[in-house]
Assembly symmetry: C2
């Protein structure tokens, strides 16, 4: 029996669980559970977005369960037969195996790869013939398949859906049957496919897997989900100084989510840190991820290197503003901008902040409610040319 | 080069041709064409409905082309994996082969089985693996598939469509690719599937097959298509007397179609025969099909046996009506019924005829415009109890 705290930690950030009771019962059953995560067969380059789930798998692994990374090499080896997608070249068997090994090496930064298993779905999907596919396809209706969000949307908008696309959720679901998975985890965008696995297992006479979905981490742009191709990511293999610099660019509005989904700092503590001083909160986050992926020793150098680089963009001579702080030794960002003479009014200051025109020590501040714990020498800037040095009113 | 007459004869009764020019060019190309007809793998029992197409294949065979009977044993061996249809039991490989041989024997009554080929689609469909199926399915969109009438209807009415059903038209279409078919013929209910074959051949780099569709012959009930399970059929293996009796039951409204689609009598001649006397027209049709499937010698016995059986249902003593004929020596059915005292007015007579309540010499007459060439001793009856013997007014 696990404590509520242990279970809550393993499920931290989870969006949906099918079913909560079933999952808790199974975690507590004493059986070593098979926990499946489906992985893209293309060359991986893990970033913080991937760690959202990997960190939960680490907690489940620590509880004694078996983590299975299911590499979807079957579809990878087919490529896109409709020839529509240029970004999906065919992979050879060798390439998919190399990518699998590379994946396992990289996840070693988050969990113990020696206690995890890797599986390739071509092993059973390649062995299926047309009659097997018909048997599989007979277990699911068109109407159910069209409930998947992207299909619904494309169908309604008369965008073409090739028949083979309808088979992919079944293939993915069948992986759970082949693995006898007890639990499957995935991003919220995979909810439909994970539930197909649940239903197919039932059809094939197995106990349906429990399903846990986790949020997709938003990227540094604050809009799209984090991905390498959109260049809005923080890679877990990146140098510490780059990590720190990127951490400073996490949108204020996403910072709490980054703390909760990618670090062990508790939600309450993170809220407090952000509430107190949003610039300092970025620094705390940056240091924390360096600690996790490069170790404590790497923090100091990264921070000082960042300061040097950042200061290089700031001129030596500039105006100085005398800034009063409140009892908590902070000041609201809009007041600060106005007092520095960068805006004639609070409403104009607000507009500037929302438009990402204001930086403090080179960090964009976009939350109009952000509180800044000003210190002497801190630089507030507007655009690329206006700089004001802060002097705290004593 | 074939004459227009030869081509018209081969295409007699065709509903749609894709494309007419393409087909004529290919027939005239001098090449021996592969002409495909898809056949059900269950035990066949050929009836006049089947002969509509078989007779056209006979004409094409006489032109020197190769007829290929494609037995759809692949799906037959799978049965219905969704378990919805009880009428589709799984067939073994042996059973499908026996049924194929039986099919070829039966079609021998219409065309030359020695100049026809039999093929089983399990030979190539069984060899396809999941990746092949995905490749095949990628060539067709969901929207196109849903254009098939029955899918459109079921989808609109929220009736479940299993995903495997969407694969069947592709499997059937792929048969044309595997066979390198030049022409495919089928019933109008197969139009969609035949056109899929056309498109898949193009996708696989072949010249798309020409497609010819033929009407589905209506059964003796005048409503549903002829089929053994509905017991509204005239089997080509049935005894001559039974054939003749069933010919008498062909609905007046369908008689011209029966002449055109199942005999060599020309449409003009058939129209004339029916126009002159609809009862006699039934007799001509009955004699014609006996001639085709049992030979000239069998006609006399069948006709006299029918007369004996029919007269058995007619009492010896009955009223007599004096019937005047027009210049063509006929009388309209409604006038006849009224004059025989079986209806007080022409409108009531009309109602009786439409309700199939009137028989002449035991043949139901349902066309209110039918002209009857009365002869002395002919018996007009209403229901099961009222009989009137005709005496022609001289």
């Amino acid at each position: 029996m696990y404590t509520q705290q242990e279970i809550d930690f393993a499920l931290r950030g989870a969006v949906q669980i099918f079913s909560k009771e079933g999952l808790v019962d199974r975690l507590n059953s004493g059986k070593r559970l098979k926990i499946k995560l489906g992985c893209d067969p293309s060359r991986p380059d893990l970033h913080l977005g991937h760690t959202v789930i990997l960190r939960r798998l680490k907690a489940l692994q620590d509880m004694g369960h078996e983590i299975i990374f299911l590499i979807g090499d079957f579809t990878g080896m087919i490529g896109d037969p409709s020839g529509k997608s240029k970004t999906r070249p065919k992979l050879t068997l060798e390439e998919t195996r190399e990518n699998g090994v590379s994946y396992l090496q990289q996840v070693g930064k988050v969990l113990d790869p020696n206690k995890a298993t890797i599986a390739y779905n071509s092993e059973w999907l390649n062995a299926m013939n047309f009659a097997d596919v018909i048997g599989l396809a007979s277990k699911y209706t068109l109407a159910r398949t069209l409930e998947r969000d992207d299909f619904t949307k494309r169908f309604k908008e008369n965008q073409p859906i090739s028949l083979h696309e309808l088979l992919y959720p079944l293939a993915q679901g069948y992986d759970s049957v082949a693995l006898h998975a007890d639990v499957e985890v995935g991003g919220t965008d995979q909810t439909f496919n994970l539930l197909v696995g649940r239903e197919l297992q039932r059809d094939y006479g197995q106990t349906p897997q429990e399903v846990i979905t986790f949020p997709l981490l938003v990227g540094l742009d604050g809009k799209e989900k984090m991905s390498k191709s959109l260049d809005n990511y923080i890679g877990i293999d990146e140098p510490a100084a780059i990590m720190y610099e990127k951490a400073m660019r996490v949108p204020d509005s996403a910072l709490l989510e980054y703390f909760v989904l990618t670090t062990d700092i508790s939600e309450e503590e993170a809220k407090e840190i952000i509430q107190k001083d949003v610039v300092e909160a970025h620094r705390v986050f940056g240091k924390e991820i360096i600690r996790m992926y490069h170790g404590e020793a790497a923090i100091e150098e990264a921070v000082s290197r960042y300061a040097t680089v950042a200061s290089g963009a700031i001129p030596d001579k500039m105006a100085t503003a005398l800034v009063p702080l409140n009892d908590e030794k902070t000041i609201g960002i809009c007041d600060l901008v106005r007092i520095c003479g960068l805006a004639p009014s609070n409403s104009e200051a607000r507009r500037l902040v929302q438009g990402k025109g204001i930086k403090i020590d080179n960090v964009v501040i976009e939350d109009v409610h952000a509180k800044i714990a000003c210190t002497d020498g801190m630089v507030v800037s507007k655009g690329k040319n206006k700089f004001v040095r802060v002097e705290v009113e004593k």
